[in-house]
C-alpha cells in the first residue's frame, strides 16, 4: 500500500477537501516523518513544533464549520529560511542574522497564510543563498536523502531535501542562478524557477535583486502549479513584480501541448557534461518525441559567458544588498568591550613605537565595529562574493566588469529571443553531474560556480525554468531534466513537465 506521505500535494488536497483526511492527521504524519528522517537529512533549521498542530486544527475547524478555506487549506509547506516571517526566527543560515525576528511577513508568506497552508518550518540553505551545495550554511550541513555522503545541491538544499525525504509535500525555495532547480535535480524532485517578476520578492532577503525569484519545489509539476498559483501575482510592494493576471496553472497543467517544438542547446552537450546525465536527458527527449514533440538544435552562442556574467552581476548586487548588515541596527555585532580593548592596545603600541603613519591609519571605533561585526558575522563564501562585487563596482573597474557584464547579459537575453523564434521550449541538463560528495568542492569555489553552467543564464534572461526528475545514475543518484520557456510562459513549462511526468515515473521514486 502506498503511504500517505507518498501522495502528491494535489491528491492530499483532494482528500482534505473530501474530508477523507484531516489537516491534523496530515500534519502529524509529516511531523513524525521529520522526527524519523531529519536527524540524518538536516533539512530544517527550525520547525514550528508548537504551532503546526494548532494551525492544522484551526483549518479543520474552519472546514468543519463550513467556512470558506484557502487554496492550500491544510497542506503543510516548508519554507526556505530566507523569507521574512513575522516574529519567527529568520536566519538566512547566517550568524549575522542568528537571532533576527522580522517584524513583518514576506508577501509570499502572507499568501501562504491566506491560503491556509500549514507552515511546517524553515529549511536550510547556503548562507544568504550563496552557494550550490547548502554546505555554506552557518548552522548545519544538509545531506542528500538519496545518499547521506552527498550534497543535496543548493542553495535551496533544505527545501529540496525535505520534499525528497517526504518531510513536506510542498516547499518554497528561491532561485538566483539555479538555487531551486539544482537541488531539485540532485534530490530527484520537481522545482520551478518562475519568470522574473511573477512572484513578489517583498520580504525575500535579497541576494541579487535582479536575479532572485521565489518558486515552488514539490514531487510533481502539477504540485508546483498548485503552489505557484498561490505565490504568483502582482504586489505593489515590489516594483519589479509584474502586473499580469495569474493563470489557473493547476487547472491548465494536465492539458498536453500539441505540436510541441523542443530546442536542444548545442553548447550544453559538450565538455564537462557527465555521460550518464547526458544519456538520461537524451532519453527524456525521446520520451517527448514519442509524445509527438519535434526536436531541433538551437544555439546560445553567449552561454559560455553565462557563469562569469552571473557571478559579476550577482556579486555586485550582493555587495550592496549585504551592506546593511553592519552591526549598527540589528543582527550580529562584535563584542564591543573586547574590540575597544584591542583597539586601545594597538593604539598604545603604535604610540610607543612612534609609528605616526600607523596611528593615522588605525580604525576609528566605528570602523572597527563594522569591520569586526562583518568579518565575524559572515561566512567565507559570503565574504568572497562581497569582496568580488565591491571590487567590480570600484572606480576604474566598473566598466570592465559590471558594465561589460550587463552588456553580455543583454546578448544572452537576445540569444534566447532568437532561439525561441523556432522552438517552444529549450531542453537540456540541469547540472553537469549528479550530486557530488560533501566537502568535495569546498576548496574549489570555481568548480562549484561551474555547477551553475546550465541554469544561470535562465536568471540572466528572466525566463522560467523547471527541473524534472528524468533518471538515475548507476549509483542511484537522481538526474534532472531542465526545461526553459520564454518569459511568462510558466504555464507552458508546467504543462510540458506534466506531459513528461504522465509518461514516466521517475518523480514517484523515493529514497
Amino acid at each position: 500500500m502506498i503511504s500517505l506521505l507518498d501522495h502528491t500535494a494535489t491528491i492530499l488536497l483532494r482528500q482534505l477537501q473530501a474530508g477523507a483526511l484531516s489537516a491534523v492527521e496530515l500534519a502529524q504524519a509529516y511531523m513524525d516523518q521529520i522526527d524519523r528522517c531529519d536527524g540524518t537529512v538536516k533539512a530544517f533549521l527550525h520547525i514550528h513544533a508548537d504551532s503546526v498542530l494548532e494551525q492544522a486544527e484551526r483549518i479543520d475547524r474552519k472546514r468543519a464549520a463550513g467556512q470558506p478555506v484557502g487554496r492550500l487549506a491544510g497542506l503543510p509547506v516548508a519554507v526556505k529560511d530566507l523569507l521574512c516571517q513575522e516574529g519567527q526566527l529568520t536566519t538566512c543560515a547566517s550568524h549575522m542574522l542568528g537571532n533576527f525576528h522580522p517584524p513583518y511577513d514576506a508577501t509570499a508568506i502572507r499568501k501562504l497564510k491566506e491560503a491556509d497552508a500549514v507552515l511546517l518550518g524553515r529549511t536550510n540553505l547556503d548562507e544568504f543563498a550563496m552557494g550550490g551545495s547548502t554546505e555554506n550554511s552557518a548552522f548545519q550541513k544538509t545531506t542528500n536523502p538519496w545518499d547521506p555522503q552527498r550534497i543535496p545541491g543548493g542553495s535551496s538544499g533544505g527545501s529540496a531535501a525535505c520534499v525528497a525525504a517526504r518531510m513536506a509535500p510542498l516547499a518554497v525555495g528561491t532561485d538566483t542562478g539555479g538555487s531551486i532547480r539544482c537541488p531539485a535535480a540532485l534530490c530527484g524532485v520537481t522545482g520551478l524557477k518562475p519568470s522574473y517578476g511573477r512572484v513578489s520578492r517583498f520580504g525575500l532577503v535579497a541576494f541579487a535583486s535582479s536575479l532572485d525569484q521565489i518558486g515552488p519545489i514539490a514531487q510533481t509539476a502539477e504540485d508546483c502549479a498548485l503552489l505557484l498559483e498561490v505565490l504568483a501575482g502582482h504586489d505593489p510592494n515590489d516594483s519589479t513584480s509584474v502586473n499580469r493576471p495569474v493563470p489557473a496553472y493547476s487547472l491548465a497543467v494536465r492539458r498536453p501541448l500539441v505540436g510541441l517544438r523542443l530546442g536542444l542547446v548545442r553548447e550544453h552537450f559538450g565538455e564537462g557534461l557527465d555521460g550518464e546525465v547526458e544519456q538520461a536527458v537524451r532519453e527524456a527527449i525521446r520520451v517527448y518525441e514519442s509524445l509527438g514533440a519535434t526536436v531541433a538544435e538551437v544555439s546560445l552562442p553567449h552561454s559560455r559567458y553565462a557563469v562569469a556574467t552571473y557571478y559579476i552581476i550577482a556579486s555586485c548586487e550582493a555587495s550592496a544588498n549585504l551592506a546593511r548588515y553592519d552591526g549598527a541596527h540589528y543582527g550580529y555585532r562584535t563584542k564591543e568591550p573586547a574590540m575597544l580593548d584591542e583597539l586601545k592596545h594597538q593604539r598604545k603600541q603604535l604610540h610607543e613605537a612612534g609609528d605616526s603613519a600607523g596611528l593615522e591609519a588605525l580604525d576609528s571605533a566605528l570602523i572597527r565595529m563594522y569591520r569586526c561585526s562583518r568579518s565575524e558575522g559572515f561566512g567565507l563564501e559570503v565574504k568572497r562574493r562581497v569582496m568580488l562585487g565591491t571590487y567590480a563596482l570600484s572606480a576604474g573597474y566598473y566598466d570592465a566588469y559590471y558594465l561589460k557584464a550587463l552588456k553580455v547579459r543583454r546578448l544572452i537575453h537576445r540569444d534566447f529571443q532568437e532561439a525561441f523564434k523556432g522552438v517552444d521550449l529549450i531542453v537540456g541538463p540541469v547540472t553537469p553531474t549528479p550530486a557530488y560528495k560533501l566537502g568535495e568542492k569546498a576548496d574549489d569555489p570555481l568548480a562549484m560556480y561551474l555547477f551553475d553552467l546550465y541554469t544561470a543564464s535562465t536568471n540572466l534572461a528572466g525566463l522560467p525554468g523547471i527541473a524534472v526528475p528524468c533518471g538515475f545514475s548507476t549509483g542511484r543518484l537522481p538526474i534532472g531534466l531542465h526545461l526553459q520557456a520564454p518569459p511568462f510562459e510558466d504555464e507552458r513549462l508546467l504543462r510540458a513537465a506534466t506531459m513528461f511526468q504522465q509518461a514516466t515515473d521517475w518523480h514517484t521514486a523515493a529514497p
Binding site: L83, C84, T90, C92, L97, F100, P102, P103, Y104, A106, R201, F202, G203, L204, V205, A206, A208, S209, S210, P236, N237, D238, S239, T240, C316, E317, S319, A320, L322, A323, R324, Y325, D326, A328, H329, Y330, A365, L366, I367, Y370, T390, L393, S394, A395, Y398, Y402
Partner: protein, 491 residues
C-alpha cells in the same frame, strides 16, 4: 579698479519636498515627532524590504525642474550610492547618478538696487534622492554613545546643483533667495532651514589674474551654514582666506596640496575651519538600483507640468512693472512676499484702479504691520475689498492721506468697514457745494487775506484753511485751498 581675482561660487541645495509620505515607503514626513516613530521596514532597511517610488515626489521634482528651465530626459533611473554610516541603514543611499531627473537649466537673478547686473545662473542638474537619518552624539561621562533617529531616513530630497556661475557672496545669497522664492511659488517645499528642509553647501575658489592668465586656487566646499546670511558671510570669509593663502603660498588647483577640501562654517567664531575628511576615498560605487524600474517621463507629462506651473516670480515682477506701473524695486518687494500677498495687492490695485497708490499703501500699511507681528497676509484683518474702498475714498479726495491712515488703523483695530471707521472717527463726506459755500463765507469775512492773495501772497490762504477746519473738521485742506484761490481769482 579691477579686482586682482574673480570669485567662482557654485551651490548645492538640498530641499525637502512637501510630500505626505517618504520617497520609497508610506511613512509620514512630519517634522518633530519623537525619535524613530515614523519608520517602517523599508526606511530602516530591514532585510527583504523593497522601495516603491512615491509618484508625488517625482511630480514635485518635475515641477521644480521645469520651472528651472531644465532639460527633462524621457526616462530617469535610480542608483545606489554606497557608504557606511550609522544614519544610513541600508549601507547605501538611493540617489540618481548618471541619468538624473533633469539637467542643464538656469535661474535668473537680479538685484533691484543694481549691485550686479541681472544674469542667468546655470543649473547643472536637479535630482531626487532619499535623506539619511540623524545622528545625535552624546559624549557624556567619558562615553561616546551615539543615538540614531531614523524618522528623517527616506524623506524625499531634491538636490539642485548650480554651475560655478556666481561671482560674489551677494550673488550667492540672491540666488538662494530667488530659488527659495521660486520653490515657495511652486508649492514644492517649505524651505525651512531651521528644520533642515533646505540645506546649502557651497563650492568656492578664486581665479587669480596673472601675467599668464587666470589661475584657479584650490576648491573648498563649505558646509554647516544655517542661514542665507551665514552663506554670504562664510563665502566672504572664504574668499578672503583663499586670497591670503594664495598670496602666501601660491598653490593652484590640482597641484600638490591643491586638492579639494571641505571646511565647516563656525557661526560663533564667524570663520571656516577644516573638517576631517569623512573617508579617505570618495568612491561611492554607484550602480543602478535593481529594485526600482526607471521612471518614464513622456513629453505629455512634462508639458502638462509646464502648463500647471502658474505665474512664477520673474513673470509676475514683469507684469507688475508694466501692467501696474510700479518700479522694479517695488515689484520685487511685493513678489518676494509670496504669491498670497501679490494676490492681495492685485485685488486692491484692480479694485481701486491705481497700482502705484495700492503699492505705496500696501508697503506702508500692510507690510509693516505683518513685519511687526512676524505674520503673513492671511492674518491681515482688512479684506482686500475694504482696503480698496479706503483707497478709493482717498483717491476721490474724500479722505486725506493722513485721515486715511487713521481710518485704516480703526479698520484694523475694530475689524470695521471704511464706512464704520469713518463714522467712529466722526468723518463725514463733505460735499463740494457745501465746501464752496463755506469758502465764500470765509472770504467775505476776511477781506485782508483776499487782498494779500491778490497781491501775490498765495500763502496767506493758509489761515483760511485753519478756520475752515474749525467750522468743519472733515474739510480737505487741499480742496479748501484750491476753492479759495479759484474764488479769489474770479473776484
Amino acid at each position: 579698479m579691477t579686482e586682482p581675482y574673480v570669485i567662482l561660487i557654485g551651490l548645492e541645495v538640498h530641499v525637502q519636498l512637501l510630500t505626505r509620505s517618504k520617497l520609497f515607503c508610506g511613512c509620514s514626513t512630519r517634522f518633530g515627532a519623537p525619535p524613530n516613530t515614523q519608520t517602517c521596514p523599508v526606511c530602516i532597511g530591514m532585510p527583504g524590504s523593497l522601495p516603491v517610488i512615491n509618484r508625488q515626489a517625482v511630480q514635485l521634482a518635475l515641477r521644480t525642474a521645469v520651472a528651472l528651465n531644465c532639460t527633462i530626459p524621457r526616462s530617469t533611473k535610480w542608483d545606489r550610492k554606497q557608504y557606511f554610516y550609522p544614519d544610513l541603514p541600508k549601507g547605501y543611499q538611493i540617489s540618481q547618478y548618471d541619468l538624473p531627473l533633469s539637467h542643464c537649466g538656469w535661474l535668473e537673478i537680479s538685484d533691484p538696487k543694481g549691485a550686479f547686473a541681472s544674469k542667468r545662473v546655470g543649473i547643472t542638474r536637479a535630482h531626487l534622492e532619499e535623506d539619511a537619518g540623524k545622528s545625535m552624539h552624546d559624549e557624556a561621562v567619558g562615553r561616546a554613545d551615539s543615538r540614531i533617529d531614523l524618522n528623517r531616513a527616506g524623506t524625499p530630497l531634491l538636490e539642485i546643483v548650480s554651475e560655478p556661475d556666481l561671482r560674489s557672496p551677494a550673488e550667492a545669497k540672491c540666488y538662494l533667495t530667488e530659488l527659495k522664492l521660486l520653490l515657495g511659488y511652486l508649492g514644492v517645499s517649505d524651505c525651512n532651514m531651521q528644520e533642515g528642509s533646505l540645506r546649502v553647501d557651497a563650492n568656492i575658489n578664486l581665479h587669480v589674474g596673472t601675467a599668464d592668465g587666470p589661475v584657479p586656487t584650490p576648491i573648498v566646499e563649505v558646509k554647516n551654514m544655517n542661514s542665507f546670511r551665514a552663506v554670504e558671510r562664510a563665502l566672504s570669509y572664504e574668499a578672503e582666506r583663499q586670497w591670503r593663502l594664495w598670496q602666501e603660498l601660491g598653490v593652484r588647483l590640482g597641484e600638490p596640496g591643491g586638492h579639494k577640501t571641505t571646511r565647516g562654517w563656525d557661526e560663533g567664531r564667524q570663520a571656516t575651519y577644516e573638517q576631517r575628511a569623512k573617508e579617505e576615498s570618495s568612491d561611492y560605487r554607484y550602480f543602478p538600483d535593481p529594485d526600482l524600474l526607471p521612471v518614464v517621463l513622456p513629453e505629455e507629462t512634462v508639458e502638462s507640468v509646464r502648463a500647471s506651473l502658474g505665474e512664477l516670480p520673474a513673470a509676475l515682477r514683469a507684469r507688475l512693472e508694466t501692467g501696474y506701473g510700479i518700479t522694479p524695486y517695488d515689484a520685487d518687494v511685493l513678489v518676494n512676499q509670496g504669491r498670497a500677498l501679490v494676490d492681495y495687492y492685485l485685488a486692491v490695485a484692480d479694485a481701486c484702479g491705481d497700482g502705484k497708490t495700492a503699492c505705496n499703501w500696501i508697503q506702508q500699511g500692510v507690510l509693516r504691520w505683518l513685519n511687526d507681528r512676524q505674520t503673513t497676509i492671511d492674518a491681515y484683518p482688512v479684506p482686500a475689498t475694504e482696503f480698496a474702498a479706503l483707497l478709493k475714498a482717498v483717491l476721490a479726495g474724500e479722505l486725506t492721506t493722513s485721515r486715511g491712515r487713521e481710518v485704516l488703523a480703526e479698520m484694523i483695530d475694530h475689524g470695521e468697514t471704511v464706512e464704520q471707521a469713518m463714522k467712529r472717527l466722526g468723518i463725514e463726506r463733505v460735499d463740494e457745494a457745501e465746501l464752496e459755500t463755506l469758502c465764500r463765507r470765509l472770504l467775505e469775512a476776511n477781506p485782508k487775506i483776499v487782498a494779500q492773495v491778490q497781491a501775490g501772497k498765495e500763502k496767506a490762504v493758509g489761515s483760511l484753511i485753519g478756520q475752515a477746519k474749525k467750522h468743519n473738521p472733515n474739510a480737505d485742506p487741499g480742496r479748501v485751498k484750491d476753492i479759495c484761490l479759484k474764488l479769489i481769482a474770479g473776484m
